[in-house]
Structures are given as C-alpha cells and as structure tokens.
Symmetry: C2
Subunit: 336 residues, 2 copies
C-alpha cells in the first residue's frame, strides 16, 4: 500500500510541494484560497506527513525524551505524567520511554533517544548505578529527577531531588518521637550514592542524634514491588517479632509490608507503625491510610523542565536543585 507524499498532494491540488509544506506548517505566506484548496485535498486523501523526513530535515525540532526507570512504579508514572503536562503548547513535545529497573536497558534507551536526535533528556528513577555511566560521550542537556548526581561521575547532568538524607532522618525521628525503638527499615542496596544510599545514611543520622544505632539485622533489602516487599516482610517479622515500626523507602513496599503484618496477626498501627516514602495516590485510600514522606510531584516536574530548558536554551551548566518533601502522617503510624 502506497502512502501519499506531499508531492502527490501538490500534484492533486495543482500547486508546488513547497506550498503544501507551507500549509502543513501553517506558514503565513499562503493565500486563503490556496490554503483551503490544499487542506481539502489533504483531508480527502487522508494525508499524514512523514515524521522521519521532517525530523531529518529539521534538526531544531526540540524534542525531549523522558526515560523512566521502573515500569510499574506508580510514583514515577505519576511524575512522568506531570512532566507531560509541563509541555507548553507550542514548545517541545515529549517522548516517553519506560525501561526496566534491573536490566541493562538504560544504554539502549539512551542510544534510542540520541538516535532520534532529542535535544534534551530527563531521567526518572531513584537508582543510579554503573549502568547509567553510559552518559559519557553523549553530549546532551540532561536532568536526573528524584535523585541527585552531585558528587557522582555524572555531575555533568543536572538533577532535581529531595534531600533524601534529611527526609529519611526526619522520618525515623518521627517514629522515635512516638516511642518506637525497635524500628525496621525496608530499603534497597546501600551501596553507591543514589537516593537509596542517602536515605540509609539519613536513617543512621536519626539514630545517632539519640545516641542509638540501627540494629544491623533490622535493615531489610527488598526490591520495590508489592510481592517482594510482602515476602521480605513476612520472613523478617517472623524472625524479629519484637519490631514495632517499619520505615519503607517506597509506598509500594509499605503497602506490601502492611499486608504481611496483617497476615501475621499484627495490627497496624496499634502493634506496628508503618511509614513510607513517595506519596502515591493509593496511600490516601488504603487500609489503613498510609503515612508517608510525600515528594512534591508537581514541583519536581516543573523544576526539572525548567532546569532542562535553561540548559537547552542558554547552554547553562549543570545545576543541582533540592526541593522540600513533607511528612504526611495518616493512619498507619500511631499517635504520639
């Protein structure tokens, strides 16, 4: 099946290809009459321009790619959507790309966006590891959201993030303040310098302030999925039944932990308090309603786009922005 080109349209409308192109791009220098004629022919022929050809010719089309690390992560999905809202009407269109959290798709996705000649890149995901070092040699304005690149080999890229360390510290302090002492932490790999590692440091800060320390056995590593968190919590709480609070480095994990606790016959929050991070919508409707350290999704999105635009337009250097998070206490943490 042959698809029409502007040449076909031009012929059918009795004008030149240039004119068709002009109409296609709503340029002013086409008379009312020709414009309507061309449009009519285009509509009749169900004409759709060739994005590849256009992209080849116009290098300045200002497309920015958003790579989301973690396919089923409601927090990142919500954030990604918020980013799309930031796309000003006449401005750069966004292309979304989801990659797996574990697999080595980052490099692949990066090459893809680069090969499409994107003029900017936003990365969403709390984890950065060696796989992300692939940005070397890709000279593109880049912003990492929800994780800082400060002090990493990737500092060439800007970043917009919370103060993860302070956030985690504040969270633990809230639990300590409510009389919890046997606190478990459900997080990820503590290696590296990403959000998860910083939060682990923040946890220690809080304990140190009180001259205490997180017991080693109470740090539980888990992937950030419901099923993994559930299983991890099940086996942990069987092992350490005296634990009376859990701080989870993601709301999804927190929800899995709550379910496991209930299955073990423990009540939340009467027996065990559970505190998450992210502020996903589900946390407002879960049983019990989830207490969490809410990240300001809108602000992160706007700030990321702003920083990227700045880099793209004025070639500015990388900046590292910190936005404030807020502790939201709901039902899953007991009263003081």
């Amino acid at each position: 099946m042959k698809i029409d080109t502007i040449r076909d349209i031009a012929e059918r409308a009795g004008v030149s290809v240039t004119t068709v192109s002009r109409v296609l791009n709503n340029r002013p220098d086409v008379s009312r009459a020709t414009q309507e004629k061309v449009r009519r022919v285009m509509k009749e022929s169900h004409f759709v321009g060739n994005a590849n050809a256009r992209g080849l010719k116009r290098a300045d089309q200002e497309m920015v790619a958003v790579i989301v690390r973690g396919r089923q992560n409601p927090f990142l999905s919500a954030l990604a959507e918020e980013m799309l809202q930031c796309a000003a009407p006449g401005k750069a269109p966004f292309a979304l790309e989801y990659i797996d959290e574990q697999a080595d798709e980052f490099h692949h996705a990066l090459m893809l966006t680069h090969s499409r000649r994107a003029s900017g890149l936003i990365f969403l995901g709390s984890r950065i590891d060696d796989r992300c070092h692939a940005i070397d040699g890709v000279n593109l304005p880049m912003v990492f959201a929800t994780v800082t690149t400060q002090g990493t080999p990737m500092a060439r890229a800007s970043s917009v993030s919370m103060d993860d360390r302070a956030m985690a510290c504040q969270a633990i302090e809230a639990l300590l303040q409510r009389g919890h002492e046997k606190i478990a932490v459900f997080g990820g790999d503590r290696q590296g310098t990403d959000s998860l590692a910083l939060r682990a440091l923040g946890v220690e800060d809080a304990f140190h302030h009180r001259g205490m320390q997180l017991e080693e056995g109470r740090y539980v590593e888990t992937r950030f999925t419901l099923s993994d968190a559930y299983e991890a919590a099940l086996s942990f709480f069987r092992r350490c039944p005296d634990t009376d609070a859990a701080f989870c480095m993601s709301d999804t994990v927190a929800l899995g932990v709550i379910r496991a606790l209930v299955d073990l016959g423990r009540r939340v929050p009467q027996d065990v308090s559970v505190l998450g991070i992210d502020g996903i919508e589900m946390g407002r409707y879960s049983l019990p309603r989830l207490s969490t350290v809410a990240q300001p999704i809108g602000k992160i999105a706007r700030e990321s786009v702003a920083v990227l635009t700045e880099m793209m337009e004025s070639g500015a250097h990388a900046r590292h922005v910190t936005v404030p998070a807020s502790l939201v206490l709901r039902e899953s943490v007991r009263e003081a």
Copy 2:
C-alpha cells in the same frame, strides 16, 4: 554542537559511507579488518546513527505502536508491559504511547504513529467512542485489546477481548448466589457498544435469569479513578444504606469503594461484599484482598500480537478473538 554522520566516520576510517552503513547494519560483506577499524572509529567518536534518516530510507522497518488509553491505569499498564515482552528479539520494536481517557488525544496519537510510518497498531482500553472513529482512512493493521470492535463501525480492526457480557453476568450471579440482593453496580457510561456497555447488559442478564431487575438507582456512574470512585461511593451509600454488595467495573474503583465503605463504618465483606474486574496486583495485597474477575493479561497480550502479526504479514482480514476470564474470590466477598 555538530553531531557526527556516517560520512564523518567514513572519512576518519578511510572508507566509503557505504561501508560504514554496512558495518552499522552488520552486513556480512565487510572484511574482518575493515569492520574492526570502522567500529573502533565509531566508538571513539561516540557515533550514533540518525534514526530519522534510517526510517526515511527504510520503509519496511516494521515498527508497531501501542496506544494506551488511560494514563494511570494499573491494569492497562501491566498489559502494555506484557505486550513489550512479546516483542521477539529480532522482530518489530514497539513504541508505547499513553493518552488521556477523557481528552481527544486519540486522533492525535493515531496521526503520530501514522506519521512515523508504523506498520501496525495495538490499542489498549476498554472504552471506545466517537473519538476512536478517527481510524477511518488510516489503513493500518490494527488490533483493539480488552474491547471488541465486533458490530461497531470499526470492525475493520481486529479485537481481542473477554466476553464482557458473560463476565459481568457471572459476577452478579456469584453475588446473588451468596444471598446478596441489594446489589449496587459501579460502572461507566452505558451508552455505546464498548466493554462497559456490554458489562451493563451482562448485569441485567443475571438479574433477569432470576426474574429480578437492577434497581435504577443502584447503577452508579463514575470515572475509573480512586478519588472519583471514593466520592461516588460515599454519596451513594449515604443515599442507599441498605445496599449489601457492590460490583465494580474496575479493581481501582473497587478499592475506592472499599475505602468509602470503611469510612462510613461498614465492614467488608461482613456488611457489604465488593467485587471488582481486572485482576490488578494490588488486589492481592489490599485489605481485604479483593475479589475480582481476572482478565488473563498474558493471553491477551500474546493473542493481540499474534493477530496483528497475522494481519501484517499475510494481509489477513480482521478477526475477533475472545479469551476467557476467571472469577477469583478473595476476602472482599463474603462466603456463601
């Protein structure tokens, strides 16, 4: 900032552009030595080909687009991911595109995929309305998943779906069988011929079989979000407190309804049973665990890709496939 082209690489490696292109596409007719030389230069220069130029030249690249209607829909997200898994290693790459459920983005997304010269399209979403009629004139192999196009103006497109009418009927029968009589239904617009309308018919079927009828006031229209479902349920159950069961046409809605019931002091399932549709992962970990009519995500994905492939390769006509769903009874529905 200038980006290298194969011409630059060719010059630097002392070969012709043709040879570079050959290396880029792993063609056999390049000597070991030249191949390595070119590859080395490409690596050193951090060369990335121009996808636009390639796409322009090669019309046969077999790219298929997946349009998902509903941005924050965990069921559709899971289904979309499953689709990507179906992408055979050497076969067509998939491009994902999320559109809003309400807004008129469908036409826009369709044009986008068409302009990129996709060779096939999969649409994910239970709702089809006038906005989708835009497929007229777009002569592309298409498959609608989770909704049937049989008997609609869009029957040119294939579809893979459950038997929505039977599903809903089975769901209501399960509730009736457990002694529920005052059943509320939380669904969407009953107009049209999409999944939601079919499910509404299925509900009536079940009542008719018993010589009963769904009371008009007990059909609650709501958008399929947690917040809307919550609000709708809150006001409905205040109005009809004698209702003892709710059938929700999406798990997300069911979760919102449960939260509303608890806030009204009703216990689930002791006072009110709640039954959903979809089979999202959250339903396995919620409190109480959600009973649901589970759709076979893997099967839908595989079947959709298979039908599309068939249409693309052999130019086959549209087919309408029905896959079986299964009732999963968990905690949110009381025992018989």
